[in-house]
């Protein structure tokens, strides 16, 4: 399974499914990462984590551990 964590910096990926449950999943989806949306991985933080993404036209930061819950194509 390819997840958002595996997407190289500067690449764009299309979300297939969000795994996990509860608050974290809901929060990720509330922020607009839903099935079918395109996510651009802009950069990682200077210390290597979290990631900065562009989704639905705005910037979002997400920990790599959470990015693993997002299955991409």
């Amino acid at each position: 399974m390819k997840t958002l964590r595996d997407v190289a910096i500067g690449e764009t990926a299309k979300v297939v499914k969000i795994h996990g449950t509860g608050a974290v999943k809901r929060r990720i989806m509330d922020m607009g990462i839903t099935k079918g949306v395109e996510v651009y991985v802009r950069k990682e933080a200077p210390l290597g984590d979290p990631l900065e993404l562009t989704v639905r036209g705005y910037e979002l930061s997400l920990r790599k551990a959470d990015a693993e819950m997002i299955e991409v194509a």
């Binding site: 499914k17 999943k25 200077p46 036209g57 910037e59 920990r63």
Partner: protein
């Protein structure tokens, strides 16, 4: 404010311009408080020009999920209080995600109006929004506004008031057919539910929301079959199905009325971000910004204004605009050179230095520099030390006291410039004029004025600091701080933004604790509030200096070790507490928006600064005032020559406070300092940490071993902070239970740390007892176990 006829709830995403809109809607007509039981700020205000309309500012939220306290507070308000209308502010530069909240608001059956913010920016960037078409499709009236420039706001408020009067419920978002059918089926189950809330509850039941009222939750089992069917068809859980459906509905609504130019070129904000969060530059920039904030608010302006408040306004007095200060200092230096620093004094000080008596070198240096202020400080601190040694061979107090009491009068402040007497002086004069008795005079001066003065001394630097924080928050940098620092701090159960409170805490714990307000996550915020005061603040420095000079001959390792102790306490607390039940609860996802950089408005910054500062003065002020009076009573009531009564010149040991200290001093026996003075000093430290030095002078260390002294230092650095900081903790926790938990934890940790230091130390130096040593080792083992024990980490906390 129940007299208002119309209530309008203002709802919107964080960073959507909601605060600015609220400020322009209400002007200065605001009331700031807290939502009950949570640390979420509650603001309401009357609409400018229409006193009948109350605007309730909901917290900035992305959703109405049951998972964060901000969101729960908002939905409870909307459902239970049933406001007459919702004014939903939508950031048009971020339309899709902003409308996501809108789709949830529309389900509540409350008349809703949208204020479309920043449409001017959208046009500038070459995108376009067909507002009319969008308004028709959503079935909601819209006003284009610019909260920043103040345009369109009247129209928005007019639309909202009209909507409130029309009482027309909006049409909710439309989902795909099978989901709609399922929702209608669930709606059909609901009886005795207000008509306008049926859609809302049906959706919440479908999502298996855990925060529903009992009468609604009762339908959950009946709805289960309907939900499962849809879940199987969509191969997803019901909550996610609804979220997906919402975003799909938004896409369908926007299709054809929102044209986005293909993104390609970088915006100004992106260009700033390329530098600010750059792999190599981010940390140096962060360090520079933090240094600047700290330097200006704590070191320069802060110290200057705080000194003026403490020594001038709440001291003897001050020179207007500083005119005359230099001349007066010079005159005083001359006076001291002539009258105080006689050859006899100098000779005795020199002898004392040779004999290596603590503090003598400070006095000697002050005389050599001809600096009367430094001399007064050093003499006040160590003077008695010289007197006691060797039967007064080095004594200088006789000469100094005679010199100061001589016929040659001290230079008078008034002669060197426009001298403004301090408040205590003015109050004393006033009370003398009124002819009140000594008891009242002492109560007012030593109890109330001194207590209030202690609080107000912090206020100026807090205001400076809050202005900086408001700027960093509003311009978007604060989110980057969290982004850059998250990796380090989350290991200790703290947020990336916890760095700021801790840094500020090295100056003063009060603004440090209050700086935690910028942390959105309630759990991280509580943890930060609990641990910030472990770091030695400015007022703890005299204690460190006292121990270092009295017991360790000013060894250079003492001060750094105090900071190390503070950092260790923060880290150990963080790691242990994040594994406890109190902090477990819901996992804290770090899914954070990085808003576009922009210049904040001056009014917003000043308003935010004022609100935070004022709320501290009010809340913390009352606690400090009360506690100062209690401590004052305890220290001035006592036994003089066997009879109990009030005596302002009472020795601390014979006061009520002293009696209490004597009764409880055994508590500190395992820490090595079961002394009445040490106990009183610790209690007095609650008023202000520098009081410890006042009570527990240099002399009192004669009987203490180095180890006991260090144990005393460790305990006083880590235990409950001063009343001002406790007031701030109370203010930020917004809960008595959490405040007591924080203070309890701090005292417990302080006790354990001091215990381990003393007992293990004694063991190594061969004076300890076996039981104490074993206990200390056991405690060490327990702490290590609590830190490394596995626990069910949330998905976010791993890695």
């Amino acid at each position: 404010m129940a007299d208002s006829k119309i209530t309008i709830a203002l709802a919107g995403n964080p960073n959507s311009g909601k605060t600015t809109l609220f400020n322009s809607l209400t002007g200065s007509n605001q009331f700031v408080g807290n939502w009950p039981g949570v640390t979420v700020e509650k603001k309401e205000g009357k609409l400018k020009g229409n006193k009948d309309v109350l605007i309730e500012d909901l917290p900035g939220i992305y959703s109405l999920s049951p998972y964060t306290s901000e969101e729960v507070v908002s939905r409870n308000f909307l459902v239970d209080e049933n406001p007459d209308a919702i004014l939903n502010i939508v950031d048009s530069t971020n339309l899709e995600r902003n409308l996501y909240l809108t789709t949830q608001l529309l389900e509540l059956g409350i008349p809703t109006v949208i204020a479309l913010n920043m449409t001017d920016l959208v046009e500038k960037s070459g995108d376009n929004i067909d507002t009319k078409k969008l308004s028709e499709r959503l079935g909601v009236q819209m006003a284009e506004i610019s909260a920043l420039k103040g345009t369109g706001i009247d129209e928005a408020s007019k639309l909202a008031v009209n909507a409130a009067q029309s009482k027309k419920a909006p049409k909710p978002a439309v989902f795909s057919k099978d989901v709609e059918d399922a929702l209608r089926e669930i709606e059909g189950l609901l009886v005795n539910v207000p008509e306008h809330l049926k859609r809302w509850y049906a959706v919440k039941l479908f999502e298996r929301d855990q925060k529903l009222p009992e009468n609604i939750a009762a339908y959950a089992s009946q709805a289960e079959a309907i939900i499962t069917k849809i879940e199987t068809a969509h191969d997803d859980d019901s909550e996610s199905i609804i979220t997906n459906e919402r975003y799909e509905y938004i896409a369908s609504v926007l299709n054809g009325c929102y044209g986005k130019k293909k993104a390609g070129e970088l915006s100004t904000s992106d260009k700033i971000d390329q530098i600010v969060t750059n792999r190599w530059l981010a940390l140096p920039i962060f360090a520079a910004v933090m240094w600047l904030v700290y330097y200006i608010s704590v070191t320069t302006i802060g110290t200057f204004v705080t000194d003026w408040t403490n020594d001038g306004l709440f001291g003897d007095g001050y020179y207007l605009f500083g005119n005359g200060r230099a001349e007066y200092t010079e005159a005083m230096n001359e006076y001291y050179t002539e009258n105080v620093w006689t050859d006899e004094v100098k000779a005795n000080v020199d002898k004392a230095v040779e004999a290596g008596i603590t503090g003598a070198d400070d006095i000697q240096a002050a005389i050599a520099d001809g600096d009367y202020e430094a001399f007064d400080e050093a003499y006040g601190f160590y003077g008695s030390e010289l007197d006691e040694k060797e039967n007064g061979v080095y004594s200088i107090s006789d000469t100094v006291d005679t010199a100061l009491a001589e016929d040659a009068p001290l230079p008078a402040n008034e002669d060197y410039g426009k001298w403004v007497p301090g408040i205590p002086v003015l109050v004393e004069n006033l009370l003398d004029g009124m002819g009140v008795n000594d008891f009242i005079k002492s109560l007012v001066l030593d109890g109330i004025v001194a207590g209030v003065g202690a609080v107000l001394g912090f206020v100026p630097q807090m205001f400076v600091l809050f202005a900086f924080l408001a700027f960093l928050e509003a311009c978007g940098y604060m989110a980057r701080v969290a982004f850059v620092m998250d990796r380090i701090f989350r290991r200790f159960g703290l947020s990336g933004k916890s760095f700021i409170p801790v840094l500020i805490g090295t100056g003063c714990g009060v603004p440090g604790v209050m700086a935690s307000r910028t942390i959105e996550n309630e759990r991280d915020r509580r943890m930060t509030v609990m641990t910030t005061t472990f770091i030695p603040c400015g007022a703890k420095l005299p204690i460190i200096a006292l121990i270092a000079s009295a017991l360790f001959r000013k060894a250079s390792w003492v001060a750094p070790s105090a900071y190390f102790l503070g950092m260790a306490a923060i880290i150990i607390s963080g790691i242990i507490l994040k594994k406890t039940k109190m902090f477990a609860g819901e996992p804290a996802p770090f899914v954070m928006e990085l808003p576009a950089y922009h210049w904040p408005t001056l009014t917003n910054i000043l308003r935010s600064m004022w609100e935070r500062g004022w709320s501290f003065i009010k809340k913390a002020g009352s606690i400090i005032l009360l506690s100062s009076i209690v401590i004052w009573l305890g220290s001035t009531f006592g036994w003089t020559d066997g009879s109990f009564g009030w005596n302002p010149d009472l020795e601390l040991e014979s006061s009520v406070l002293g009696a209490i200290g004597n009764a409880v001093k055994w508590i500190f026996a395992p820490l090595g300092f079961a002394e009445i003075k040490a106990t009183i000093a610790t209690v007095m430290g609650l008023v202000a940490k520098e009081e410890v030095v006042g009570v527990f002078g240099v002399l009192d260390f004669e009987g203490l071993s180095k180890l006991a002294g260090y144990s005393f230092l460790a305990f006083n650095l880590l235990c409950a902070p001063c009343f001002a900081a406790i007031g701030a903790i109370r203010r930020e926790m917004n809960s008595a239970k959490w405040t007591w938990f924080a203070i309890g934890w701090q005292c417990l940790l302080a006790y354990i740390a001091a215990f381990i230091i003393y007992q293990l130390g004694s063991l190594f130096t061969g004076t300890g007892n076996i039981i104490g040593g074993i206990l200390a080792i056991a405690l060490c083992a327990l702490i290590i176990w609590l830190m490394v024990r596995p626990y069910n980490e949330s998905q976010t906390a791993k890695a």
